[in-house]
Symmetry: C2
Subunit: 301 residues, 2 copies
């Protein structure tokens, strides 16, 4: 399963029982937390997520609604006796904050906390089956988006056909990589005759907080699912720009230009109790749009 | 009204929809927050408390379940445009944490945040009608309890009687202070003939986290309401001591020795879903006991 579960979809001030930003990505049987606003540990419990399976936490930026719940989550993991390493990726100063808060409490965690400062746009997790990379977004303070991409999977061998065409098993790796085969007599055996395409590789981009910024387009081009913030409805374009945020139709414009599969919108301002207009306005310009509703898991297809 | 409203009654790991420690004292039409665990701002909203009326916040110690919600509350107060000064009392390092978290977010609060480091047992708020003082408790790290005490109120003048006995108004202040009056002819006018007793002064002591410590007894003697933690039931006395916490019967023992009016117990361990045994065990030794149930206001009488 490759999907993203929404734990918090609201902007800075909690309201209408909506919570500050947090999302949980499930990929390759592992859990990855993106952002961790206040109360995230309670949301994790509410949605019956196994906290111990979270191995990586990515913090986009150091506005409180994106990380004030992190120290509580880490502390709880320690109190519950976690042993396995926890990787945290975020702006360098986050490490100072965590260390200060652990130190004043005389807390020694029973697990290793590996902190990785985000400094340049790059691959930050390189797994045999997927990567996570970070990219800069334009916000009031340094801010990072994250892309989860499955690696291109090798083709699958059709063993019956390979035996039929007498292809030696030593050549199977090349078949998996898409190569054709030439028999000793020069006869061509085309790759697609002896192998199947594997699951296509999928990708999810989390765009963090951002003003409308077309330089994002190339960074997230053709992802299967794009999360883009829509703090405001379209009539609030000026306020959005002032506060380094985006509107509904700006998110739709990025989705269109980047030619993504689906768009997920969130980080709704506490001005709005009803979210229906967010969907209406965005979907008018980009039909494949979903609201990031808390508790819902969106599959990446 | 002089009362305390429970916002969070649980110990470190949130569980069973109970929240980490936070209490709101209402006194003299002002609101005072004691401790501010993660999610306190949401609890404040849930119980329809006017956040803007909170002028003072007291943080007992720097374990996360007593202050991780503070930075979120401060930030929200700023986002909502608070103008009036906010006083925070707590261990000195709390100021470093707050400043670091505000600074990395480039946040400039629109109100003055006056930080007061707790260093010695003393009166920390001296209002004409009441005082707040702090006292040390024995916990794993430096920890403070707080006592809210109304000042002894002057007696009320009985104007009709004062006129009848021809007491000059210049002498009224002495009447309020309990003095008798002698007329020019030497006739004695007893104070109680011309004045009424005012409301008796009341007091509330918040004992923070503490192991069983009889040196607390003198500090909280005869308060009308004592909050004492009961993290564990009585059969867990050893674990309580190891972790610098108390049991039900230990809280009752302190209440008895200190001869307090009523006892309020809380900071329940996440081991316990049902709290009934806490009340049974404590009330067996000190009858006037209440459970600190979230959302309930306990009047100080």
């Amino acid at each position: 399963m490759f999907g993203v579960t929404i734990l918090g979809n609201n902007s800075a001030v909690p309201a209408f029982n909506r919570h500050p930003t947090s999302q949980l990505v499930t990929l390759n049987d592992q859990l990855f937390l993106i952002d961790c606003g206040e109360g995230t540990q309670t949301q994790i419990t509410r949605y019956k997520i196994r906290q111990s399976k979270i191995g990586y936490i990515f913090i986009s930026h150091l506005h409180g609604d994106h990380y004030f719940g992190l120290i509580g989550l880490i502390t709880t993991m320690g109190l519950l006796g976690r042993k396995q390493i926890l990787h945290i990726y975020g702006p360098a100063q986050l490490q100072d904050i965590i260390h200060l808060q652990l130190s004043v409490a005389n807390t020694i965690l029973p697990f290793e906390l590996a902190f990785h400062a985000l400094e340049t746009e790059s691959i930050i997790v390189d797994h045999p089956k997927f990567t996570v990379s970070c990219f800069a977004t334009q916000h009031r303070i340094p801010c990072w988006g994250f892309i989860f991409s499955e690696k291109k999977m090798p083709r699958k061998i059709d063993r019956v056909k390979c035996l039929e065409f007498e292809i030696p098993s030593a050549f199977y790796d090349q078949i998996k990589n898409g190569q054709d085969y030439y028999k000793k007599n020069g006869e061509l055996i085309k790759n697609e005759w002896v192998s199947f395409a594997n699951t296509p590789s999928r990708s999810y981009a989390f765009c963090a907080d951002s003003l409308y910024d077309e330089s994002i387009v190339n960074k997230v081009a053709k992802v299967n699912l794009l999360y883009h913030e829509t703090t405001y409805l379209k009539d609030m374009e000026l306020r959005a720009a002032e506060r380094f945020h985006s509107t509904t139709i700006q998110a739709a414009a990025i989705a269109n230009k980047a030619n993504v599969g689906k768009l997920l919108i969130g980080h709704f301002s506490s001005k709005y109790e009803d979210l229906a207009d967010f969907l209406t306005e965005t979907a008018a310009d980009f039909q494949q749009t979903d609201l990031a509703i808390e508790g819902v898991t969106f599959l990446i297809k």
